[in-house]
C-alpha cells in the first residue's frame, strides 16, 4: 500500500483529498490528511463580519463534512517534516510515513512581528479582520463608534487576499454613510506598495474609486511600530500617522512547522517551482497554495486553479513520469466596492489585470475592472459555490488557465 499524506485541511488540502480519492484505487493508495483544527473557515467571509453583513456562523463548518469517505483524517499539530526520511512527526511523537507529501498549511497573521501591535490597544482600538475573533471584536467596536480617524494599514508583503483591505475601506465608506456619520469618519489607506495595487491599470481604476469615495491613500509606508500611548503608526523612514481606530493586516507568515522542518524562507514560505508546484528541496513533496513562495496572490482562487495543475502532476509523479502540467499563476478576485457593487480582476504571472468581460468574451456576465452590480452578485453567490462545489473538487464552468479572451489590452 502506497501513501499520500496531506498537511492542512483548508481550501487546498480539502480539494486535493477529494480529487485524489476519486481517482486512486483504495486497494493501492492510502490517503491521510492532517490538520490541527476541526473547523473549516470560509475566509473570504471574514471581511463582511465587521459590518454586520455576515456573522460567525456564516463562515464556519466542520472540516469533516468536506473530507470524503476513504480518507483518514487526523486532528493534530505537526511537529515537523523529515524530508530525507519521507516522514512527518506529529506532536506527541506519532510518525506518519509517506510516498508523496502535499504541504497545504497556508499562511497566518502574526501581530507579534510588529512592535506595539499586539499591546494594550489590541482588540480595543486596534483590530485585524483576518481572524474570526478580530472581525467579531471589530464589529462590536463599530456598532457604537462615534467617528474619528480610521486607519487601514498593511504591515508587510506578501499578504493573504491582497484585495481585502481595499474592500474593507470601500465597505467602511458604505457602512458609515448608512450610519449617518460618514462626515465624522476620516478613512486612510496605508500601504507599503507604491499605490492602491501593484499593477498599473488596476491601480489606476482602484485609485480613482478610492478618490471618488474620499478615502486617502498613503503609499510607500513600511510599518515599523505602533505607538499605543500617542495612537500613531510609525514607518522606518520616520513618517507618523495618527489613528483613533487602527485596522491592520499583520505580517503574514507560513506555519511555524515549516521553520522547524528547515523548509522555509525568512517568512516560513516554502521555495516551490512556480510551474510544477514541486518543492525545490524534495522530489516527492508538493506545495499548494499560500504555504508556497510562488509569485502570485495568496488567495483561494489561486489554490483552486493550482489544484488542477497539482492533480495532473501528482498523476505523473505517481507513474514516475515527467511533470507535464504547468501552473500559470492564475488568480481571479472579486472586489467588493460598496453599495451593492463590485469589481473583478483576472490575471496571472505574465498578464496584469485588464478590463473586459468574464468568463465569456463580450458577454460576461461579469465585468473585469468595471464596477457593477453583477460582480457583487458573483461574490455573494461564491460562498455557496465554495461550500458545495469547490471544496469537493467538482468541475466549475471556468477555465483553470487564464484566458486572454474577453480582455482588452489597451
Amino acid at each position: 500500500m502506497k501513501k499520500i499524506l496531506i498537511l492542512g485541511a483548508g481550501t487546498g488540502g480539502t480539494i486535493m483529498a477529494n480529487k485524489l480519492r476519486k481517482s486512486l484505487d483504495r486497494e493501492d493508495w492510502d490517503i491521510t490528511i492532517v490538520d490541527k483544527h476541526k473547523t473549516h473557515y470560509y475566509q473570504p467571509g471574514f471581511l463582511f463580519i465587521p459590518f454586520g453583513i455576515y456573522n460567525k456562523h456564516d463562515v464556519i463548518k466542520p472540516k469533516a463534512n468536506f473530507i470524503p469517505a476513504g480518507v483518514n483524517i487526523i486532528y493534530s499539530d505537526v511537529d515537523k517534516i523529515v524530508g530525507e526520511e519521507n516522514k512527518v512527526l506529529l506532536e506527541g511523537g506519532k510518525i506518519l510515513n509517506y510516498d508523496f507529501l502535499i504541504v497545504a498549511t497556508g499562511t497566518r497573521v502574526d501581530p507579534t512581528e510588529t512592535p506595539g501591535l499586539k499591546d494594550e490597544l489590541w482588540y480595543k482600538e486596534i483590530f485585524d479582520f483576518y481572524t474570526v475573533d478580530g472581525a467579531v471584536a471589530l464589529r462590536d467596536f463599530f456598532e457604537t463608534w462615534k467617528g474619528g480617524r480610521l486607519v487601514m494599514s498593511i504591515a508587510e508583503l506578501p499578504f493573504k487576499c491582497p484585495v481585502a483591505p481595499l474592500e474593507f475601506v470601500f465597505l467602511a465608506d458604505e457602512y458609515f454613510t448608512k450610519a449617518g456619520i460618514r462626515d465624522k469618519v476620516d478613512i486612510t489607506y496605508v500601504t507599503p506598495l507604491p499605490g492602491a495595487f501593484t499593477k498599473p491599470i488596476a491601480t489606476k481604476m482602484l485609485g480613482n474609486l478610492l478618490k471618488e469615495k474620499n478615502i486617502t491613500v498613503i503609499p510607500d509606508f513600511y510599518l515599523e511600530s505602533v505607538d499605543n500611548k500617542e495612537k500613531k503608526i510609525k514607518s522606518y523612514d520616520g513618517q507618523e500617522i495618527p489613528f483613533d481606530v487602527l485596522t491592520i493586516v499583520p505580517v503574514n507568515k507560513g506555519d511555524d512547522m515549516i521553520e522547524r522542518s528547515g523548509m522555509g524562507d525568512d517568512l516560513n514560505f516554502i521555495p516551490t517551482d512556480k510551474h510544477t508546484l514541486r518543492s525545490e528541496k524534495y522530489e516527492n513533496v508538493f506545495v499548494l497554495g499560500d504555504a508556497s513562495n510562488i509569485p502570485t496572490s495568496k488567495a483561494g482562487s489561486v489554490v483552486h486553479f493550482a489544484a488542477e495543475v497539482l492533480f495532473d502532476n501528482m498523476m505523473c509523479a505517481i507513474k514516475g513520469r515527467e511533470l507535464r502540467a504547468k501552473f500559470d499563476g492564475h488568480a481571479n478576485c472579486y472586489i467588493e466596492t460598496g453599495f451593492g457593487k463590485g469589481s473583478l480582476i483576472d490575471f496571472n504571472y505574465e498578464t496584469e489585470p485588464l478590463p473586459g468581460t468574464y468568463p465569456l468574451p463580450g458577454v460576461g456576465p461579469f465585468g473585469l475592472l468595471q464596477n457593477t452590480k453583477m460582480n457583487h452578485y458573483g461574490k455573494v453567490i461564491f460562498r455557496w459555490i465554495y461550500w458545495h462545489m469547490l471544496l469537493k473538487g467538482k468541475e466549475l464552468p471556468i477555465e483553470n488557465e487564464m484566458s486572454m479572451a474577453g480582455k482588452k489590452k489597451s
Partner: protein
C-alpha cells in the same frame, strides 16, 4: 524601453530607468545612477548592493535585507532614502522587484 549612456556605456533601460541586462553592470555605472538619485556610494552601500545582486533569484524584500547582517531595516532606509528597495535595485543594476499581488 530606451537607450541610455551611463558611465560611457550604452545600455538598454526600462521606462523607469532599470538596466535590462544585469551583466552589463559595473561599479562605475552604479556610482553614476546613485548620483542621479542623490546618493554618494560608500563601502556600506556596496556591501548591500553585493548582497542584492547575490540574492536576486531568491526574491528580495526589505525584511530580507534587514536580516542580511549588513544593515538593519532602518539602516537600509538611511542608505537609500525614499523607497530603499526600488532605489537600491536600480543602482545594483537588476530588475525592479515585483510585488506579487
Amino acid at each position: 524601453m530606451a537607450q541610455k549612456t551611463i558611465a560611457g556605456v550604452n545600455l538598454e533601460v526600462t521606462d523607469e530607468g532599470y538596466i535590462v541586462d544585469s551583466s552589463q553592470w559595473t561599479e562605475e555605472i552604479a556610482k553614476e545612477i546613485a548620483k542621479e538619485e542623490g546618493i554618494e556610494l560608500n563601502d556600506k552601500h556596496f556591501e548591500v548592493i553585493k548582497f542584492i545582486r547575490d540574492n536576486v533569484d531568491a526574491g528580495l524584500t526589505i525584511r530580507k535585507i534587514g536580516k542580511s547582517g549588513i544593515v538593519d531595516i532602518k539602516g537600509f532606509y538611511d542608505l537609500f532614502p525614499g523607497g530603499p528597495l526600488k532605489v537600491s535595485t536600480k543602482i545594483a543594476g537588476i530588475k525592479k522587484p515585483a510585488s506579487c499581488i
